[in-house]
């Protein structure tokens, strides 16, 4: 019975909701300090070209991080309130006091039983005193639990203040540190599956262009990539361009297609950064050929079948099998124009803008294409920007003008379209 009563009291207090409100107040700045942190190291290489060799200085460096931290005092204040505690207490007080009054009045009442009533058990009805005392106990039965519940809830209300220190990071500095040489075998990797071992001892390794089957663009030690700074990336790119030219061998610029010529000129220009004047002559030759083609429209302009006299002749002579116009399925072939070099195509679109007298841009649906316009051309007419045109042309790979790199085609015939 004692446990039952205790459980009932606890259950009754459980009905009384306690509301918790938490607020945080920041106090004054206590101190400012820096916290050093050492992050796991990364591989780093410095590169230098002494053609035909690439010097590799390989080291492993940690990252030393310094975090500036401001420490503040902070108070976490938890306020507990029980909105029902007041009503419960007042109800308990009122009914308990009422019980006291009833109990006092009961002694004024007659103790004589009610003889006008005899119940089924043969007992008289209760006296007025008994009735008042019964009401007293009923009032106590309500008032005392209400008092207990209200009092417990009231005792549970209050405020807890937890004082603590909080840190706030204000700045962070990182710098490489603890550089140490590395010994191992680095793999020099490149496109087309090129992978050449590069032994490194005490941080020093030598990669010879003679042993390379192709350009490399990545150094890896085990499964850890070797980081290169911006200068290192440029050096490796230039070295790889030189390697690529060596593998390709000497080529006469006149014998190259437009795309191949542009690619070679770019690689020569890149290689010149590490080999200097050694590649100056072939670079100038390639650039001269490029200039010549830009001005003349390229050798394709004078290819067999070019001396057509009408659009229909051009279609008949070149028999274009690819159609580039809005909605055409062939437009996706423009992703790899190097694979289309020399192929005749039919184009229909809008003159986007002319970049120079001998070159223009056609908008074909969602694609743009450079078009070479030969100086000696049989068609006439003036095609302003925005005019609709159709053309027969021969694809010639990629072309870069300024910052724009687009597929390029040499025009055979151009006319207005309706």
């Amino acid at each position: 019975m004692t446990r039952l009563t205790l459980c009932l009291a606890l259950a009754a207090t459980g009905c009384m909701p306690i509301e918790n409100t938490v607020r945080t107040e920041r106090g004054p700045l206590l101190r400012t300090f820096t916290r050093p942190q050492l992050l796991p190291g990364a591989l780093h290489a410095e590169l230098r070209v002494r053609w035909p060799e690439l010097d590799v200085q390989l080291s492993e460096r940690d990252v030393c991080r310094e975090t500036t931290i401001e420490e503040y005092a902070e108070e976490r204040i938890t306020e507990r309130s029980a909105p029902a505690a007041g009503p419960a207490l007042s109800t308990g007080l009122a009914t308990t006091l009422g019980a006291g009054v009833l109990f006092g009045l009961s002694f004024v009442m007659s103790p004589a039983p009610d003889t006008t009533l005899i119940d089924t058990a043969g007992r008289y009805g209760p006296s007025l005193r008994q009735q008042f005392q019964g009401y007293t106990f009923l009032s106590l039965g309500i008032g005392i639990p209400a008092l207990i519940v209200g009092a417990i809830a009231f005792l549970r209300t209050g405020e807890d203040v937890e004082q603590r220190r909080v840190e706030q990071e204000t700045s962070q500095k990182e710098a490489p540190c603890n550089a140490r040489p590395v010994t191992g075998t680095v793999q020099a990797k490149g496109p087309k599956g090129v992978s050449v071992p590069l032994p490194v001892k005490d941080g020093v390794g030598l990669l010879s262009a003679v042993t390379l089957p192709g350009p490399v663009d990545e150094l890896v030690l085990g499964d850890r990539p070797v980081e290169l700074d911006e200068a290192g990336l440029l050096t490796l790119g230039a070295f790889s361009a030189c390697v690529s030219l060596e593998v390709e061998g000497a080529r006469a610029p006149e014998s190259l297609s437009d795309g191949a010529l542009v690619s070679r000129a770019e690689r020569l220009s890149n290689c010149k950064q590490v080999r200097g004047d050694a590649v100056l002559a072939p670079l100038e030759a390639a650039e001269a050929e490029l200039k010549k083609r830009r001005e003349s429209g390229g050798p394709g302009a004078f290819a067999p079948g070019a001396s057509v006299t009408s659009f229909e002749d051009a279609v008949s002579a070149y028999a274009p099998r690819l159609v580039f116009k809005a909605g055409s399925a062939d437009l996706s072939r423009l992703d790899t124009p190097e694979q289309l070099e020399g192929q005749a195509v039919f184009m229909q679109g809008v003159v986007s803008y002319g970049l120079a007298q001998n070159i223009g841009v056609l908008q074909l649906g969602g694609r743009e294409v450079f078009v070479f316009i030969p100086q000696k051309r049989a068609w006439g007419g003036d095609f302003a920007n925005g005019s609709r045109v159709e053309a027969v042309a021969v694809m010639a790979g990629w072309q870069t003008v300024g910052e724009k790199t687009l597929p390029v085609a040499r025009l055979v015939w151009l006319r207005a379209a309706y």
Partner: protein
């Protein structure tokens, strides 16, 4: 900790008074049986007149005296037989229905004999 059962039992005790004496219980039944208009079964089974029913039964049973106490039937038996008469109300001013009176006579031949009637 023993407050709850104490309050409960105290409240229950407050609902009833002391045991009524046997004479008061007997007089209560006589009053109910003789309350007018008197049931025909009372006059026939107990052989009493409507006008003198109460005096006749009190005299026959002897429960007009304060010293009266039940022997045959016993107090418990008498109280059990009295229950149908309280169905219309516990107050003595409420007349029991004749069906309840008939039930008393049918179920309690000892009480009929106690009142000097024929079961």
């Amino acid at each position: 900790m023993r407050l709850f059962p104490w309050v409960l039992s105290a409240s229950l005790v407050a609902c009833v008074g002391p045991d009524a004496p046997d004479a008061a219980v007997c007089q209560d039944v006589v009053k109910r049986l003789c309350l007018g208009p008197i049931c025909q079964s009372v006059t026939t089974r107990l052989s009493v007149e409507a006008m003198t029913c109460e005096e006749t039964l009190l005299t026959r049973t002897g429960c007009g005296r304060d010293s009266f106490s039940f022997t045959e039937p016993s107090r418990v038996q008498f109280l059990d037989c009295r229950v149908p008469l309280l169905r219309q109300g516990a107050s003595q001013a409420v007349k029991p229905s004749c069906a309840d009176v008939d039930e008393l006579f049918l179920d309690c031949p000892d009480v009929v004999r106690f009142f000097g009637g024929t079961p």
